[in-house]
Amino acid sequence: MRFKGKDIISIRDLEKDDILYILDVARKIEKSPDQDLLKGKVMASLFFEPSTRTRLSFESAMSLLGGKVVGFAEPGVSSLKKGETLWDTIKMVDRYADVIVMRHPVEGAARIASEAANVPVINGGDGSNQHPTQTLLDLYTILKTKGTLENLSVGMLGDLKYGRTVHSLCIALSHFNTKFYFISPDALAMPRDYLKDLERKGLSYTEESDLIKVSKELDILYVTRIQKERFPDPMEYKKYAGFYRLDKRILSHIKKDMKIMHPLPRVDEIHPELDSTEHALYFDQAANGIPVRQALLSLVLGRIE
């Protein structure tokens, strides 16, 4: 697809070739960044809910390529509190910016914004629905470390029921003949809809509650946080929270080149004693957000064809 003027709302909108093209542009930009590539362009950064990590990554991505950033980091500073609809807010911002990056707590908000705006909209997360730039940076991280996205064995660990990042990653990886291992307590298993989609594509997956039983198979282990808010009963939370805490004991049960990823922030899913091992990929992963977001901004703004 031609990216100029396009919105980046959901990983479902991207074909395999689109994904590979974005990652290739990211690689080129990371190798030789052009400080004037986005000169004269303005990015509106609309964070209707706080997410310092995503906001800083987008704003740095823009600034490092010579672009300007306007926007707000909390809804309090906009007119939103006065009951203005998202549609109207976007119609207003549309006139001041060349691209809109937004994060919003309500699911589907980015899609509506893209329909209201003439300029391209990039979704920085809409509730528990989509966060496509996170998924693309996850893929970029895997591609960089493994040299390919094809035919890998990928384990996803933790809260697979509510975890937005693992859902999107699962959709994206299904283009690449991935062998999936879903490791979670039964109560937090990958939703049926995602499993059905994999079956329809003829992909194999394994569901397992015991990490050790499958850890030797994995090329990548993607760890997610089990969030307290997900449990109505705090006792339930306590039961599961410590279920999958990775520490040095895992090292004797994994391949030498197995890499551990995590969207961050972590609570205690990964012990800091693993940080210095060659398995830890999560800090590189976070840093990869910059070239991936630079690639997307350059593409939708038409500065890279």
């Binding site: 479902r12 609809t85 998202l86 699911e107 589907g108 629905n129």
Partner: protein
Amino acid sequence: MKELKISAIREGAVIDHISPENAFKVVEILNLKDKDDIVMVGVNLQSKKIGKKGVIKIGNSFPTKEEIDKIALIAPEANLNIIKDYNVISKERVKIPDVLEVIIRCANPKCITNAENHKTKFYVLEKSPLRMRCHYCERIMEAADIELV
């Protein structure tokens, strides 16, 4: 039971082969209580195909696309006949379209369409059993989740 005669209409629509339990839902979808032309509603009529059926005849008006889509969701077994000059000029089973716009609410309370009262849009993934995806929040809905606007 003796067959009940329902008089023919010159121009209009006949919705036939409705399961009896769905007949009054179709009446509601078509807002028939506000029509001031001929309306005939028959339920529990004999049918060779489905045992008992409902039939609705409406004079001088035709269901809109939105109404037909709604009937397809609620009573997918129904047939729609268009009558002109006492002749049936078309007769077909109502079909669930590939994209459903405006006519149903999203079952996800956290969806922007509910938060901001925005029009809805769903992509039908499978027709039987029905599975569809919200264009906005991307959640999957099934037949049991359907709530008409």
